[in-house]
Symmetry: C2
Subunit: 377 residues, 2 copies
DNA sequence: CTGAAAGCGCTAACAC
DNA sequence: GTGTTAGCGCTTTCAG
C-alpha cells in the first residue's frame, strides 16, 4: 500500500448550496408537458427525438448507409462514413437499442440472476462479470431471487423476454420449470458458483461438496476432534448445504460427527455469527473447532472469541468459507476456503461472449475452480 | 436471533455426479444448428419462436385481443380472455419486451449507475432498489463506472439508449456532458447518495459535508484534540471529499486542524485501513482520534489497535462512515455515521415509479436523510 | 459500395 | 367488445 501525505483541498466549497431550487426546465419536462422546441418545425409535427433517419438526412445519405457507417458493418466509403459519424455527433444521435435488438434478433443485454446482492460475495461476482464484458457492448441486467425458487422462475422468465445475449444464473439447483424455460430459450446459459450437478449449458464454479470435505480433512489433520457447525439459511442456500455434506462425509469417514449444530434462520451476518457462536460455545464446552457456513458468520465467531478471551486458534479453531477481505486482516487467524468470485464472474461473462460471437461451444462447458484452503496457520 | 438445532440432512447425495457430460440437446442448440422440431410443420418454414400471433391463432382471436387479454388492458370478454391466457400458457408463450417497449415508447428497464459493486454500500443500495421496484415490472439494468467520469458518460449514454423508465445515478457530480444527456433524455433522473448540489431532476441522499461536520463536532465534544485523517481515493470519491471538507470546517471553527493525513491510492479495504493506520500512528505519536473516509478503513484501524494493544476508545477514538454490519459486532467500539443505504435505494426506485406512473412530480425532488451519528461510546 | 423494400413483435389509434 | 391499420427505429435481404 503506497500512501502519500498530501495537503487536503477543501472541495466544492463554493458549490455547497444546500437548499437550491431544482432546475425548472428538467422539472417541467419530467412533468410531461413542454417539450423544448429546439427545432422550430418540430413544434407542429411533435417529432419525438433524433433517429437514424435524422442522421441520414443530415449526412445526405440513406438510412442504410448511415446505419452501416455507425456500426462499422458492411462496406461504406470512408468519405461517407466520416460524414455520417460527424453528423451523428453533431445532432447528438443516441440510437435505440430496443429497435436494433428487435430487428437483429438478439439484444446486447446479459441477464444475471443472483440470490442476493447484499452478500458481498455476489457483489464481487457482479464485479467480475462487469470486468468480463468490459470492452464488449453487453450491458448487465440483473435480478435478485432472495433464494426463492418461484421468484427465480419469474425473474428468469422476465429476463428471457428481453432476448438477452446470454444469461448467468447462480447455482445448478433451479426448479424444473426454470430449467425448462432456460433450455428452450435458445440463449447461452451459464450457471455459476457450483459444479456439483448437471448444467443446462455450461457452468463455472467449484465443488462445494469437495470444498467442505477438504476443509474437514485439513482440520482433522490439525488434530481437531470436537466439531460444531454453525450456519444460516441452509434450507435455501443449497451450496452451503453441499459444503456441509462434504464436511460431514469427511467426519464420518474418520468416525466422527458434529458435537453440536446451530442453524440460524436469519440472514448470514457477522452479528448472527457472533450470537450463534456464543450460544454454541456456552452450551457445548470443550469444542475445539467450529465450521461456519461462511466467512460472515465466522468473523462473528472471531469477534466473540476476541471479546471473551477464547484463544484462537490454539484452544478453538474457526473455519469459514470464501476468503473475504475482512478475514485477512482480522487480528486473529481463522481458516477459510478462498473462492475466486471475481474469476468466476469473469469466466461466466467470457463464456457468454464467446458462445455468442458464434464461435460455438469451443469453450469448456464445465469450468471448475479448485479453491485453496487456508487453515489460518 | 432465533436458532434451531436440527439434524442436518445430507443433501443431494445421489446427485453429486461430478464429471457428467452436458446435456447434448442443449449443446447442439447452442452451437447454432438443430432447432428441435417440436412442431412438424415448422421444419420447413423455419418459424422462429412462439409469438403473440401464435397465441392468437391458438386462442382463435386476433392478435390485438390476445395482446389486450395478456396484459389486462382494455375490455376483453372474460371468456376470450381466459381462452387466451390458457393458450399462452399451453404453448409456452414468453413475450418479447423489446417489441413491446419499442412499440410503446418506453421500456420497463430502470438504469442504475454505481461507481462500484464491490463496495458493500452500493450493493446495499442495489438491494434497496430491488426492494423498491418489487411488485412493479421494472427490471434493473446496471452499469459500473469505477469512479471514472468518462466511463460514467459512456455507461449513462448506453443506458439511455434502452429508453429506460428511469435512471438512477450515483452522486451529483457528473461531468457536464453526462448531465447534458441526462437532461435531454426525457426520462426521470434520480441522483442518489448526495444532496450537496443541484440535481438534474431529483436526488435522494444525505449531505456529506454536514455528516463530516457533525462527526467532527461530536468528537470535539468528547474532548478529542489531536486528529488524523485516513482516506482512500479522495480524488475520485467526491462524497468522501465532501465529508472531509465538513470535518475540516468544524475543526477550523475550533481553531484546530488535522495533525496528520494519510491518503491511500488503492481501493478502500480493511487491509488498506490497517496498514495506513499503522503508518500514521507510528509517525505521529500522541494522536487521540482518527477520522477515516469510511468504515472499511476504520475497521482496518480497529484491527490494528486490537493487535497492538491500543486502547480504543480511551486512548484513541476511531471514526468511520456508513455504519456497516461488520462495525456493529466489532469487539471494540468505533464511531460511525449510520447511513440509510437501503432506504436511499428504495426511495430512488419509488421516485422513478411514481414519476412514471404519470403522477408527475408530486414527489419531493430532494429527499434528504439525516443520518445518526454513533460515537460508539 | 449504396439504396429501397420488407419486416422484427408488439401496441396505439381508429374503425366496426 | 373486437378487429384492422399503422407504425415504433432499426437491420436484413436483395437489387442496383
Amino acid at each position: 500500500m503506497v500512501s502519500i501525505p498530501v495537503s487536503i483541498p477543501v472541495v466544492n466549497r463554493g458549490r455547497l448550496a444546500l437548499a437550491v431550487p431544482v432546475a425548472s426546465r428538467a422539472l417541467k419536462r419530467w412533468a410531461g408537458g413542454d417539450r423544448s422546441q429546439k427545432h422550430k418545425q418540430m413544434i407542429l409535427d411533435e417529432k419525438k427525438r433524433t433517429t437514424l433517419a435524422d442522421v441520414a438526412v443530415a449526412a445526405g445519405v440513406s438510412k442504410m448507409t448511415a446505419s452501416r457507417a455507425l456500426r462499422g458493418a458492411g462496406d461504406v466509403s470512408k468519405a461517407k462514413a466520416d460524414r455520417v459519424r460527424q453528423a451523428a455527433k453533431e445532432i447528438g444521435y443516441v440510437g435505440n437499442h430496443l429497435a436494433s435488438s428487435l430487428s437483429g434478433k438478439r439484444s446486447d443485454l446479459i441477464g444475471v440472476v443472483v440470490p442476493s446482492v447484499e452478500n458481498i460475495v455476489f457483489a464481487e461476482v457482479l464485479a467480475g462479470i462487469a470486468d468480463g464484458i468490459e470492452g464488449s457492448d453487453l450491458q448487465p441486467v440483473f435480478g435478485v431471487t432472495d433464494y426463492d425458487l418461484d421468484k427465480e422462475y419469474d425473474v428468469v422468465r422476465n429476463m428471457l423476454s428481453w432476448k438477452p445475449a446470454g444469461i448467468i444464473v447462480t447455482g445448478l439447483d433451479q426448479s424444473d420449470a426454470t430449467k425448462r424455460i432456460l433450455e428452450n430459450a435458445d440463449v447461452p446459459v451459464v450457471q455459476i458458483m457450483d459444479v456439483d450437478g448437471i448444467p443446462v449449458d455450461a457452468c463455472v464454479g467449484l465443488s462445494h461438496f469437495t470444498a467442505g470435505k477438504e476443509m474437514a480433512e485439513a482440520l482433522l489433520k490439525m488434530g481437531r476432534k470436537r466439531f460444531a457447525y454453525v450456519g444460516c439459511g441452509l434450507d435455501r442456500d443449497t451450496r452451503a448445504a453441499k459444503r456441509l455434506s462434504g464436511f460431514q462425509a469427511a467426519l464420518s469417514e474418520n468416525g466422527l460427527a458434529f458435537v453440536a449444530t446451530r442453524i440460524g434462520r436469519a440472514r448470514s451476518t457477522v452479528k448472527a455469527g457472533r450470537d450463534l457462536s456464543a450460544e454454541v460455545l456456552a452450551s457445548h464446552p470443550g469444542l475445539d473447532c467450529i465450521y461456519y457456513s461462511n466467512d460472515d458468520l465466522a468473523v462473528g465467531g472471531a469477534y466473540h472469541c476476541i471479546a471473551n478471551g477464547v484463544a484462537v486458534p490454539d484452544e478453538l479453531v474457526l473455519a469459514g468459507f470464501n476468503g473475504l477481505d475482512l478475514v485477512d486482516s482480522l487480528p486473529i487467524r481463522i481458516a477459510t476456503t478462498r473462492t475466486p468470485r471475481r474469476e468466476i464472474g469473469r469466466a461466466a461473462a467470457e463464456i457468454v461472449l464467446n458462445s455468442n460471437h458464434g464461435g460455438g461451444v469451443g469453450t469448456e462447458r464445465r469450468k471448475q475452480f479448485h479453491p485453496a484452503i487456508d487453515i489460518g496457520v
